[in-house]
């Protein structure tokens, strides 16, 4: 057992638990943040992607002890109140999902790339998203949404 302190979606968060526990399940089961999804448990699908500091990270393989002192953003932390992030906005406009189960992971994966490099191109982002799976085959629309969002970010929208 250990107390782990980190910033979660902009808010200081402390949790006392076994430090070997997985971030995915601490988020979902302990903190009630169910937007981060479980799809494979083996870093093979991307559904559980969150952003730690500026990196896209698979929460299903991240121990909670390792996020101590770090900044974690989940899908729930992306919108500012009712104002969507440009990526979310683009996903809505392009209907870049079907069942929507892969969507949080896709958006967080794209977000990390654009956070690291706001001038990243859609191709850069899609390269990162290649290890994110979408069974519904929403790839065409996701690619369109990413293109729109990348352009918006280059244009200086947040």
């Amino acid at each position: 057992m250990r107390t782990v302190s980190f910033t979660l979606n902009g808010k200081p968060t402390r949790i006392t638990t076994d430090e070997k526990r997985l971030l995915l399940w601490v988020l979902r089961d302990d903190l009630g943040l169910t937007g981060t999804k479980f799809g494979c448990g083996q870093t093979a699908c991307g559904s559980c992607t969150v952003v730690i500091n500026k990196d896209a990270v698979r929460a299903c393989a991240t121990q909670i002890g390792d996020v101590d002192g770090k900044t974690v953003v989940t899908i729930e932390g992306l919108a500012q109140g009712a104002r969507l992030h440009p990526l979310q906005d683009a996903f809505v406009k392009h209907a870049a999902f079907q069942c929507g189960f892969c969507t949080p992971g896709m958006i967080m994966g794209a977000y990390a790339r654009l956070l690291q490099n706001p001038r990243a191109t859609a191709a850069d982002v899609l390269h990162d998203l290649d290890d994110h799976l979408c069974r519904c085959g929403a790839h065409v629309r996701i690619a369109e949404a990413v293109t729109t969002a990348a352009a918006a970010m280059r244009g200086g929208v947040r």
Binding site: F38, C40, Q98, G100, G137, V140, I142
Partner: protein, 718 residues
């Protein structure tokens, strides 16, 4: 701070899964206009069973399709589920259209067995095609009632009135105008649907056919959308269930003592179910690994290579759904004959959301939130397993994270309910990816043998097809063949025990993918031998005007230039009919002749699907079909040996990725036919269109799906 401070504020309804309490619902529907379900199904196809318990005339009956409240809001109640196909958006479009109310005034409740009329299940293409007319009928009935009420109130003939923007108005007397809410206020009017009200002609539509932004969009991009595994009743525990290592293995001994000692862990048994429970999933996983189970091995000797001979030897004699002319006479007339065998392996559904359910017993009633395509059948299964009467079980279906047919079977819902009952606490069952593959009901392996012949005029003169394993959907030869026989051995029912090594079941367009792949591959084999362009060969042998139109439209959209194959260009064509929709796909591929790797460059898919209710939704579904179709064509196949699965996660079971994404163009043809299915047709020709394009590229035909690099290289070696 509480941990929940992190939740962003989301307006009501964005998450969709707030449970509507039955009492609130009774209050809501205590006044207003209700259009009820009748026991006689409108669509005599057995899809809509009788209203639950035959209570359809009781005043508390909730089996209504449609409610119009005093505030003028329209609520559609639909036993279908939203699994990505967009029914949640397009069904309200139909109701809004029929009632002439703004789309924003229409609400929808889906997949809740306490609130919605009975529904047999949500299967890909059927939501709109089969449910749309029923919902429109309900709305048309409501409109007729509202017109009558206004006519009575004003003492004028109904024919002097019309509806507009959520109200009834007099055609000439502008002082006479009442909203639907004003008309129904304080009253409770029930109507039962009987017969078929006349529906607006297709051309009169204003809302239907326009793109509508999806109702589930905000929830899905903010993480607020709830799926079954996200529902969290107080005190819920995760269950991990002890599973066999192979199909056919049986439990010999089990030692749960170590797990029992782990902190926070409960071990629960209910008959054959042994599970560990813990509030945290990762700790439940750890506890499961402490259980020592010994298994007697499976006696299965089947593998993914010996399966094809096995299927041919054990499949039932089957039947002959299509037969015509005289095969022997056709053979006599043939100048060239062909005999080919096509094989395909088992393909998984692999939805990104694994089968998930949470069950909670409260005051003697079991509520199960499940990711299922079949909430009503699941309710019956839960009631039977728990020995509860049907009214003591409620299934609620939040968003479903992909189904494709695989969530027609919802064993996880029964497991959660049994464990919740045994443990006395709410229990959540979220299958691991390994369990998802293990218990999947796979698209079956299949073997197609086709003998055929053409005459000197390059007309197909006979066609003799035997299908083993894939069933009869889409098995018709769609060309002009005077002498033909189609035998189907083994499908979804009536297979001998042990024919398949694990479960099989409907997979997006069940069996039709395999049947189209064999037929359309074989058509290309004949076209090549006849030194004829594959499109021209098809048109030369095709009288069906509807398919000709689609084929010609596809050629135009693709920019097809006729050339006999193999032309080296890597282009292919294939046709398919599914769920009443005609579809032609054309593709261009690059094949790396050293590695055998196939890269699909471009796909054009053209579809005549009758009336298009939601064109954006329809195109999305087509795109999904094309991208998903790359998988069964190029990489997806379950490997197994002696009852054990070799592929247990996405590291070896490969789904299509962004880097595979071809340039995709989808075309919907105008059509005056009623709405046909759109969720599946475009996937049907995928195996064949790619096999044909690969042949065109390398001059060698791959006779087995998926067309892995190894199979491409083997085909090139001959």
């Amino acid at each position: 701070m509480t941990p929940f401070d992190n939740n962003i504020e989301v307006p009501d309804g964005w998450g969709f899964a707030q449970t509507i309490d039955r009492r609130d619902f009774l209050k809501l529907t205590s006044t207003g206009l209700l259009v009820m379900f009748v026991v006689e199904p409108l669509l005599g196809r057995g899809l809509f069973g009788p209203a639950q318990g035959g209570r359809s005339s009781a005043p508390t009956d909730l089996n209504a399709f449609l409610h119009i409240g005093a505030d003028g809001r329209v609520t559609c109640l639909v036993g279908k589920v939203e699994m990505g196909q967009g029914a949640m958006t397009s069904l309200p479009q139909l109701a809004a259209e029929e009632l002439d109310v703004p789309l924003s005034m229409v609400d929808i409740v889906m997949g809740d067995t306490d609130l919605c009329p009975f529904d047999g299940g949500t299967f890909g293409s059927l939501s709109i095609r089969q449910f749309g007319p029923v919902l429109r009928s309900a709305a048309a009935e409501a409109k007729a009632v509202l017109l009558e009420m206004a006519a009575e109130r004003w003492q004028v003939p109904v024919t002097d009135l019309r509806v507009e923007s959520g109200g009834v108005l007099h055609k000439t007397d502008r002082t006479k105008r009442l909203t639907y809410g004003q008309l129904t206020e304080g009253k409770r009017i029930e109507r039962r649907l009987a017969g078929r009200p006349s529906l607006d002609a297709v051309t009169a539509f204003t809302i239907v056919g326009k793109a509508a932004s999806r109702r589930d969009a905000i929830g899905k991009v903010t993480g607020a959308a709830k799926y079954a595994g996200d529902i969290a009743p107080a005190g819920a525990l995760h269950a991990r269930i002890v599973r066999p290592p192979a199909h056919g293995a049986t439990l010999a001994a089990i030692d749960t003592s170590a797990a029992e000692k782990a902190p926070g862990v409960r071990v629960v048994r209910d008959g054959d179910l042994v599970a560990v429970l813990h509030a945290h999933r990762d700790e439940a996983d750890a506890a499961l690994s402490l259980i020592k189970a010994t298994w007697t091995p499976s006696r299965s000797t089947l593998t993914d290579t010996n399966i094809f001979d096995h299927l041919v030897s054990v499949a039932p004699a089957g039947d002959t759904p299509f037969r015509g002319g005289d095969l022997a006479a056709g053979e006599m007339r043939a100048t060239t004959t062909f005999s080919e065998t096509y094989r395909k392996g088992y393909v998984a559904h692999a939805p990104m959301e694994t089968h998930s359910a949470i069950a909670a017993m409260e005051n003697g009633k079991m509520t199960v939130w499940a990711g299922t395509q079949t909430p009503f059948p699941l309710k019956a299964q839960v009631a039977a397993a728990l020995k509860l009467s049907a009214d003591k079980v409620r299934v609620i279906t939040p968003y479903v994270g992909g189904g494709f047919g695989g969530k027609s079977a919802s064993q996880q819902g029964v497991e959660a309910a049994r464990l919740a009952m045994a443990a006395g606490v709410p229990v959540r069952v979220v299958w691991s990816r390994e369990e998802e593959f293990f218990f999947d009901t796979f698209d079956p392996a299949a073997v197609h043998t086709i003998r055929s012949g053409i005459d000197a005029a390059k007309k197909i003169v006979f066609w003799d097809l035997t299908v083993v394993g894939a069933g009869s959907r889409g098995v018709e030869h769609i060309y002009d063949v005077p002498n033909h026989r189609t035998r189907v051995r083994g499908g979804w029912n009536g297979n001998p025990a042990g024919m398949h090594p694990f479960g099989i079941g409907p997979w997006r367009a069940p069996g039709a993918n395999a049947n189209a792949w064999a037929r359309e591959s074989h058509i290309d084999v004949m076209a090549a031998k006849a030194s004829m362009d594959p499109v021209e060969f098809r048109l030369h042998n095709l009288a069906d005007a509807r398919m000709r139109r689609v084929l010609q439209a596809a050629s135009k959209a693709f920019g097809w230039t006729p050339k006999a194959g193999p032309s080296g260009r890597g282009v292919g064509v294939a046709c398919g009919i599914d769920a009443g929709t005609y579809c032609v796909n054309m593709a261009q591929v690059n094949v790396n002749k050293t590695t055998g790797h196939i890269q699909v460059v471009r796909i054009v898919s053209v579809q005549d699907m009758g009336l298009v209710v939601n064109p954006e939704g329809a195109k999305q579904q087509m795109e999904g079909c094309l991208q998903m179709g790359l998988g069964y064509s190029l990489s997806e196949e379950m490997h197994f040996t002696n009852g054990a699965l070799i592929d247990t996660n996405f590291d070896t079971y490969e789904l299509p990725r962004f880097s595979w994404l071809p340039k995709i163009e989808t075309v919907l043809l105008d059509s005056d036919l009623p709405a046909q299915g759109g969720g599946e047709p475009a996937i049907v020709p995928m195996g064949a269109v790619l096999a044909n394009a690969v042949f065109d590229a390398i001059g060698a035909r791959v006779h087995q799906l998926p067309m892995t690099p190894a199979r491409v290289l083997a085909a090139m070696r001959g």
